[in-house]
Each structure stands twice: as structure tokens, then as C-alpha cells.
């Protein structure tokens, strides 16, 4: 299995490295958006490869909602040390002061304040012209429409009806003063490609991707991890201990786990191959309104 896919992974890797290097050749102030998920981990690995033996020539930015899984914070410190990264952490202080949280607020409001607005504020603060993101086209229907180099206006908004043509691999990276770029080097990768690459390259990922007996609660048919005591159990809810893992990671109350025994990358690959649902099925924020990802992107989400 491994050998069979080697060639395809090599060409995906070469394409992504090409995109990352092209960005650095023309960017004045680039940054990598780093969510701590598996795609971010692959993206960081590719950036390290692209510039080895030099250090990655840009900072990584983590938009911290204060509601990430505790395992993710541990992982963030581990990676920062391991690769000697220039790590920027940005939080929407206004949102935190107002206690905008995923339990008391609708998921679209919470995401807008703590993720979209925070990201926009951070980009304005540091005036980044190119931001790398780990998004893939196979993730979601509006992402499937996006260019590798996605032009955003002064409000960081995407205009899906007037995208810049993108021909061959000749990227036009010239922009006007108030515009910026979101760059997606993993555009052509699929979920399986990501896992096979993690397997081949032995890339570190957050432990939550692997199955383990964890305390959970079932809420609206979704499996929610008891990550800390901020979750308030309702009367009819009780804590269960189940073998669960996460196919995708976001804020803990908004990412639902799946029942699984896959505790190695190989087992995860086999599990995904048999899966009848897409990876984002466990993302509650994708389903809070119809075409919600497109609407979030119009507002500046990455």
C-alpha cells in the first residue's frame, strides 16, 4: 500500500513546496495560519522541507479561541520548541471579556467573534500580505471552488463570483494596497493523502486523532468530549467512557468525536476508506446554516 502511493505523494509534495516557495519569493510579510490540526501539521512539515536547512522564513499564527482541546495546547508548546518556531498567538480579547463561548452562544455567532473576527484583527495588526492556510478543496463545496492563491479585499472577504484566473502554475501574486492573499498549498490533497503522508513522513499530530478511552457525553446525537469543567452537564446527561477519536479538530464543544478503535495511522487510513461520511460531518459549525462555509468565507474566515 505504502509503495503504491509513493509517486502520487511525491508529486503532491512537490506541488505544495512549489507554491510555498513561490509565495516567499514575492511576499513582503507572509505568515502561516496554524490551527494545530492534521492539515496544519502537514503544511508546517512541507514548509520546513521547502527551506531546509534554513529556518522557516515566516512566523506561524494561532488564532486561539480559549476553547481548544487541552491536548492541543500541549501539542502547541511541544511543536514550538521542537522546530524553534516564531509562534504568534492571537485572541479576541473583547470576545473573551464578554464571555462569548460555544455553550451559551449559537455556533455561528461564536465562530464569527472568536475565530473570524479574531483572525481579521490579527491580520490587520501584523499587516500580513500572504497567509498560508491548510484548507483542502475536497473538504467542503465552497472550498472546492477556491483558487490556490485566493485574493481577499481590505475586509479580508472572498468574492467567489469574481475570482482571479489562475493559469497553469503561473501565479499572479501582485495585489493592490488593501488586498491580501490566502494561500492554500494543500488545495489538491485529499483526506487520505494527508494521512498517507503523515504515515510516510512520521509527522507529529495531536493525540486526539488516535482512539483512546475518553470521557464523553452524548448531546444532540453528537459525541462531545469532557475536556474540562467548563462543560455543564444537563439533567439527563451522564458521563460515559468510550473509545473515541477525532477525525477533525476545532474547538472542543464544537467538534464531535467518533466511536473508533483506530489507534495508529494505518488503522485510521483503513477506517477512513470504509467511512460513509465526510470528515466535516463532525464539524458542527459547518452545518449551522445552509452554505455556511461560503458565508463565513465572505466574512473573512480562512
Amino acid at each position: 500500500m505504502r509503495k503504491e502511493n509513493q509517486a502520487y505523494l511525491d508529486s503532491l509534495e512537490a506541488e505544495s513546496i512549489y507554491i510555498i516557495r513561490e509565495t516567499i519569493a514575492e511576499a513582503k510579510n507572509p505568515v502561516m495560519l496554524y490551527s494545530l490540526g492534521k492539515d496544519s501539521s502537514v503544511l508546517l512539515h512541507l514548509a520546513i522541507k521547502a527551506f531546509y536547512p534554513n529556518k522557516v522564513p515566516f512566523p506561524v499564527l494561532h488564532i486561539d479561541t480559549n476553547w481548544k482541546f487541552s491536548e492541543m495546547y500541549k501539542f502547541r508548546n511541544f511543536i514550538k520548541k521542537k522546530f524553534n518556531l516564531e509562534l504568534l498567538v492571537y485572541k479576541n480579547i473583547k470576545g473573551i471579556t464578554k464571555n462569548i463561548n460555544p455553550f451559551d452562544y449559537a455556533s455561528d455567532i461564536y465562530t464569527d467573534v472568536m475565530k473570524t473576527q479574531a483572525l481579521r484583527e490579527a491580520l490587520d495588526k501584523y499587516k500580513f500580505d500572504f497567509s498560508f492556510g491548510g484548507a483542502r478543496r475536497d473538504e467542503e463545496k465552497s472550498r472546492a471552488k477556491e483558487r490556490v492563491f485566493s485574493v481577499r479585499n481590505n475586509k479580508h472577504s472572498w468574492d467567489p463570483k469574481d475570482q482571479r484566473p489562475e493559469l497553469w502554475n503561473l501565479y499572479n501574486l501582485q495585489i493592490k494596497d488593501n488586498q491580501s492573499f490566502r494561500v492554500f498549498p494543500l488545495s489538491n490533497w485529499t483526506e487520505i493523502d494527508i494521512w498517507q503522508y503523515i504515515l510516510r513522513e512520521k509527522i507529529d499530530i495531536v493525540k486526539l486523532y488516535f482512539s483512546k478511552k475518553r470521557p464523553v457525553v452524548i448531546r444532540n446525537d453528537k459525541i462531545i468530549l469532557i475536556d474540562d469543567n467548563r462543560i455543564k452537564l444537563k439533567d439527563n446527561e451522564k458521563i460515559l467512557y468510550k473509545n473515541v477519536r477525532f477525525r477533525t479538530l476545532g474547538c472542543y464543544p464544537l467538534s464531535s468525536g467518533i466511536i473508533s478503535n483506530a489507534n495508529t495511522v494505518k488503522k485510521i487510513i483503513n477506517e477512513i476508506k470504509l467511512s460513509e461520511n465526510s470528515e466535516r460531518a463532525g464539524r458542527l459549525i459547518d452545518h449551522d446554516q445552509s452554505s455556511s462555509m461560503e458565508i463565513k468565507k465572505l466574512q473573512g474566515y480562512f
Binding site: 509513493q6 531546509y52 503561473l170 460513509e276 461520511n277 460531518a281 452554505s291
Partner: protein, 623 residues
């Protein structure tokens, strides 16, 4: 630590393909249907498109497969495809990257975006509607982009009772279109996307069709044997990296051939030779690197190499020059003009470029050539381009990566055109930047037209300003920069100190002429509308300009005619003595002796006059 990475060691390959063709021929439905029947759709995605089908469609409970690809809100509302959707699936033998492209002419640039990286194009057509202009346009684009495999999918066979005769008739018609194009490896297939005929299995309704169904075709089409391999090593330098020890490494992707450690390469455009010291990829040093690998190269000697330079093993197909002929697809709302200057990105170089000639435009209806002075959005043409400096160039047919370019607007930074290098001209013309002064001529080149003054003279009320305004509108639509100078804007401002005595009238014209001169030098076509009654002042004005830059238009109308019309009531007041020194009444008008044009506004319609001047003038403004 040496590790050999070989790209061709495995069986499983990847097919990048597009679907294209006219609107409503069923592109998105076809692919959606195929993915659905092959179970490439996740359950949560399926329930999402079921909901969307109920929301946007009048047919209840039918799945609209197009929603799988038309993911944008406005696409679903309007039931059209606006931009390319990418979709990924894989079988035992192959990985697929599908780009579903829009059929509307206005979204041609998005179709080109999808098509530029495709190895196969499925051109769909509706058997009932036959070959439409978009079918031809997309076939032409596939041919320009050199897509190596074409499948003409004749859709909606159910609507004609699966008639073999009608199908063969369409194929015959398409073969006639093909004669005008440069396409190879063409296959044909009858199908019905709506009913699923010949999509994932051969349809029983068309036993006369002996070829594979769509899915088998995609799985089995042979890609490897078609790839024309050139052994020449081409490596455009993407990035220059300086290491801690101050040594340099050159990063980039191999675009053709192979390179070995110790090999001697030529660096272009400088023509300097150097020996490869090390080829590396991350922590591995490689003895050999193949096509498409992203690597870094270091040399034995320190040489001056910049981003955009090309490292090569053979100069056979490369020419270092600043002129070439190319086919382009124009993609912006702003038209292309001869003489205008753009940024051109080719490989990793960005250089200033000028369109010096539009050789031919291709008519997408007849697929024949025609003359053109400008190019509008979606126009396809053959042009000649000059660059500000000499760079290494390769023909598109010899290498897709090195022979393709884009034009970028210097002000908006929009991508204006996709270009394919057709022919390289070795002799340099050197029209660029011969000196450092910015002259009228260079401004004219930037604007794409010459600048002149059109001087309208004639009695008050003869129609000078009306002519000037009408002409300006026509010139503006052509993309020509203009400005009108007349009594209205000069007398109220800069000439507000002047009255109507003979002396003041002379000074009025002198200032108007001098201002016109400055504006013409700045590159603007000035439309000056002044009575300017005296021959001497008109001569003075003419002498300020280079020969040919002053065009005098005598707007001829009899005093009787203008006095009868008397639009502003000025003649009546002059007759009563309320206005002194009024031309034609108590001040003379000297008839021009040799004007370039005479317009008889009292004898012809104003639109006719405007058209006549426009026709005579427009070619004088060409560079």
C-alpha cells in the same frame, strides 16, 4: 545519505480532467451522476444535496446531481456554474482530479483556469441543440492549450430516442469543425446524464455503441505513452537561498529532463557555465533529479544567478531574445490595445512587455482569422510582443511550463490574458526606453494611441462644441484619452480676466493653443472648440505643434443659418447692440484657407458629421 527517489516506479497515476461545453448541456449533472453511481459521495454530502434539490428545484424528491459540483449560493439560485469546481476521487488504478468548468461565455476565463492543467477535456454537447458557438470556443481553447486528449460526449441521447443516425450526424458535423483546429486523440461517446446511459455501464438502449462507458474510459485512457519527453534539462530558478556559511542554493522545480550531480549546466540569460555540486531535497542529497521534483541545486563556483534565470543542459530549444509571437486569450473587462504596456510573468520572471501588433483575431463562430485593433474580453488572437529586456524563451509546444505566460495590468494588477508562445523572433527591435526622458511618443505608446489637437473653428452656433462632444464620446468608447477645451471651461477660469475686444480674443486663443500643446505633449487628444475668427491666431496655434499634430476642422454654416437658429439668443442681442464685437455681426470671421476637414453643419445631420470626422481621424491616432 543518498536516497534515490524515482517518480515512475508505480502503476497508480493521476488524471487531471475537465468537463466543458455550452450552458445547459449537462456538465455538472453528468459528473454528479457518475460520482453518485460509483458511490464517491459521502452520506452527509448526499443529504445536503437532497435538501438543496428540494429548496431550489421544482421537481420534488428528485436529486439534482449538479448541486454536488455547483456549491456556491449564487450558482444554486441561478442554476448555473460560475466557477470551476474541483472534485477528487480514486479507484484501484488511478487518482482523479476533476475540474467542472462553466459554460457561459462570460465565465470563459474560469473555464481556461480549469483547462490549463488538464490532460483530458470532456466536451459535452446537447444532441438536440447540436454544435453551438461555445462548443467551438471551448474546442478552440482546448486546442490552444494543447490538451492531449479530447472526448466529445454527445449528451441527452434520450431526447432523440437514442438514434444512431442523429448521433453519427453530429459526429460528422464536429469533424468538420476539427479540420480548423489542432486537436489529437479524439474519442466520441453517446450518453444520457439524466438517465445514466453509458455513464458507469454500457447502456442497453444503445447496443450500436461498441465503445466503453464514461467511467471505463476515464479509468483506462492511456496517459503515459502520450507524454512527449525531451531530455533537455530545464530548471527555472524560483528562489535564491543564502545559507549560514553565505553559500547560495537555487530552489525550484525541474520542468524537463533530468540533472545529475557533477553535470555542467548553462545559466541563461548570462550564458555562464557551472558545475552542479549538490542536488538536495530536504535532508537527502540526490545523485539524480527528475521532472516535476522540487529540489535545490548548488554550484561549484559562485555565480550571479537570480530568480527567473534558467539552468539548462541544452540551449537547443531556448532562445534569449526580447520579441515573440503568441496566441492569447484576453480575460479582462479592460480591452487590449496595440502599444500598451503590461507586466508579463513567464516562468519566475516578471518583465515589462508591450503588444506591438495584433496580427489576427480568431472568430469563434467561423474559426477563421480576422483583423483587429483591440481585443475585448474572451477574444482569442495572435499577437506580437516586445519585452523590455532579453530573457530565455521556449515555445509552448516544446514546453508548457516555459512557453506559457500571463499578462498583468500594471495598475489594477488583474490577470489580463493567458498566452502561449508560438514563435520566437531572434532580432531585437529595441523600441523600449532608448533614453531616460519621458517623451510625448513614449506616453503615446503607454496609452496605446497618438495625441493630437482637433481644432474646431467656425461661427458661434455652428455646432463646434456639439461636434466635439459627440466625437469625444466615440473616442472614449475606443479607449482613447481625450479632453475638450472650449469657451465654457477656459473663459470661466484661466481666461476670466479677458473680455471680447480684438486684443482679448487674440490672447484667449493664444492661451487655448498653449494649453492644448501641453495636453497633447502629456498624451491627451484635445478637442478644442473656439470661434477663433482670425487666420493669424489659427496659424500661431498650428505652429506650436509638430506637423500632423494640429488638425483644423472648419465647422461651416452660413451666417443666415446660425442666426436663424440662434440657440443661445446671442445673435439677436448682438443685432440689438447689447453685445459688442460679435463675430459675423460687427466683427469679422476669416474663412480658413487650408483646413484638414470641412464640415457643413447646415447641410448634413450632426451624427453624419461626427461619423465622418471619426472615420477620418481614428486611423491617424494609431501608433
Amino acid at each position: 545519505m543518498n536516497k534515490k527517489i524515482n517518480f515512475n516506479q508505480t502503476k497508480k497515476d493521476i488524471l487531471k480532467f475537465i468537463t466543458c461545453g455550452s450552458v445547459d448541456d449537462g456538465k455538472s449533472t453528468l459528473l454528479g451522476r457518475m460520482l453518485y453511481e460509483k458511490k464517491f459521495i459521502f452520506l452527509d454530502q448526499l443529504s445536503e444535496i437532497k435538501n438543496a434539490s428540494n429548496k431550489y428545484s421544482s421537481h420534488n424528491n428528485n436529486i439534482d446531481y449538479s448541486y454536488l459540483l455547483d456549491g456556491l449560493l449564487s450558482e444554486r439560485e441561478q442554476k448555473i456554474t460560475i466557477d470551476v469546481a474541483y472534485r477528487y476521487f480514486e479507484t484501484e488504478n488511478r487518482k482523479f482530479i476533476l475540474a467542472d468548468t462553466p459554460g457561459h461565455e462570460q465565465y470563459t476565463r474560469n473555464m481556461v483556469t480549469g483547462a490549463s492543467n488538464a490532460e483530458l477535456a470532456i466536451i459535452l454537447l446537447d444532441v438536440k441543440k447540436g454544435i453551438k458557438e461555445q462548443t467551438k470556443r471551448h474546442s478552440l481553447i482546448c486546442s490552444l492549450l494543447n490538451i492531449p486528449n479530447i472526448l466529445l460526449a454527445v449528451n441527452k441521447m434520450d431526447l432523440i430516442g437514442y438514434s444512431k443516425k442523429r448521433y453519427e450526424n453530429i459526429i460528422e458535423q464536429y469533424k468538420r469543425v476539427l479540420k480548423k483546429l489542432d486537436l489529437s486523440n479524439i474519442s466520441y461517446m453517446p450518453l444520457s446524464a439524466l438517465n445514466g446511459d453509458n455513464i458507469v455501464k454500457n447502456s442497453k438502449k444503445m447496443p450500436w455503441y461498441k465503445g466503453p462507458c464514461l467511467f471505463d474510459f476515464l479509468e483506462k485512457i492511456d496517459l503515459q505513452s502520450q507524454i512527449k519527453t525531451s531530455n533537455n534539462f530545464y530548471f527555472p530558478v524560483q528562489l535564491v537561498q543564502t545559507l549560514k556559511n553565505n553559500k547560495r542554493k537555487y530552489l525550484g522545480t525541474v520542468k524537463s529532463g533530468t540533472v545529475r550531480e557533477g553535470e555542467v549546466l548553462e545559466i541563461l540569460p548570462s550564458g555562464v557555465f557551472n558545475t552542479v555540486k549538490k542536488i538536495s531535497m530536504y535532508k537527502n542529497n540526490l545523485k539524480l533529479a527528475n521532472k516535476n521534483m522540487s529540489i535545490s541545486i548548488s554550484f561549484k563556483k559562485e555565480t550571479d544567478i537570480s530568480r527567473g534565470d534558467i539552468l539548462t543542459s541544452s540551449k537547443k530549444l531556448i532562445t534569449v531574445t526580447d520579441r515573440f509571437i503568441a496566441k492569447i486569450i484576453w480575460m479582462d473587462k479592460v480591452s487590449a490595445f496595440i502599444g500598451r504596456i503590461y507586466n508579463l510573468k513567464i516562468g519566475h520572471s516578471i518583465v515589462t512587455a508591450q503588444i506591438v501588433k495584433i496580427i489576427n483575431k480568431i472568430n469563434t463562430k467561423s474559426l477563421s482569422f480576422e483583423k483587429a485593433n483591440t481585443l475585448k474580453m474572451n477574444d482569442i488572437a495572435i499577437i506580437e510582443v516586445t519585452l523590455e529586456k532579453k530573457i530565455p524563451l521556449v515555445k509552448f509546444k516544446d514546453n508548457k511550463d516555459l512557453g506559457s505566460f500571463i499578462l498583468i495590468d500594471k495598475i489594477t494588477n488583474n490577470t489580463l490574458a493567458a498566452g502561449m508562445l508560438e514563435n520566437i523572433i531572434k532580432v531585437s527591435k529595441n523600441v523600449f526606453y532608448s533614453d531616460s526622458k519621458i517623451t510625448q511618443k513614449r506616453r503615446n505608446i503607454l496609452n496605446g494611441h497618438k495625441s493630437k489637437v482637433i481644432w474646431f473653428t467656425g461661427l458661434s452656433g455652428a455646432g463646434k462644441s456639439t461636434l466635439a462632444k459627440g466625437l469625444e464620446n466615440k473616442l472614449y468608447k475606443k479607449g482613447i484619452r481625450t479632453y475638450i477645451l472650449d469657451g465654457d471651461n477656459l473663459r470661466t477660469g484661466i481666461n476670466s480676466d479677458l473680455g471680447f475686444s480684438e486684443e482679448a480674443r487674440v490672447e484667449n486663443i493664444r492661451r487655448a493653443a498653449e494649453i492644448s500643446k501641453l495636453m497633447v505633449e502629456s498624451g491627451i487628444v484635445v478637442l478644442a472648440a473656439f470661434i477663433s475668427p482670425y487666420q493669424a491666431e489659427r496659424n500661431l496655434a498650428r505652429n506650436l505643434f509638430k506637423k500632423g499634430d494640429f488638425i483644423e476642422v472648419f465647422v461651416k454654416a452660413s451666417l443666415e443659418y446660425v442666426e436663424k437658429r440662434d440657440v443661445k439668443g446671442l445673435y439677436a442681442r448682438a443685432r440689438k447692440g447689447e453685445i459688442k464685437n460679435f463675430t459675423g455681426i460687427d466683427s469679422p470671421y476669416e474663412i480658413p484657407s487650408k483646413p484638414e476637414f470641412i464640415i457643413n453643419t447646415d447641410k448634413e445631420k450632426i451624427e453624419t458629421s461626427i461619423n465622418n470626422i471619426y472615420k477620418a481621424l481614428i486611423f491617424k491616432l494609431e501608433i
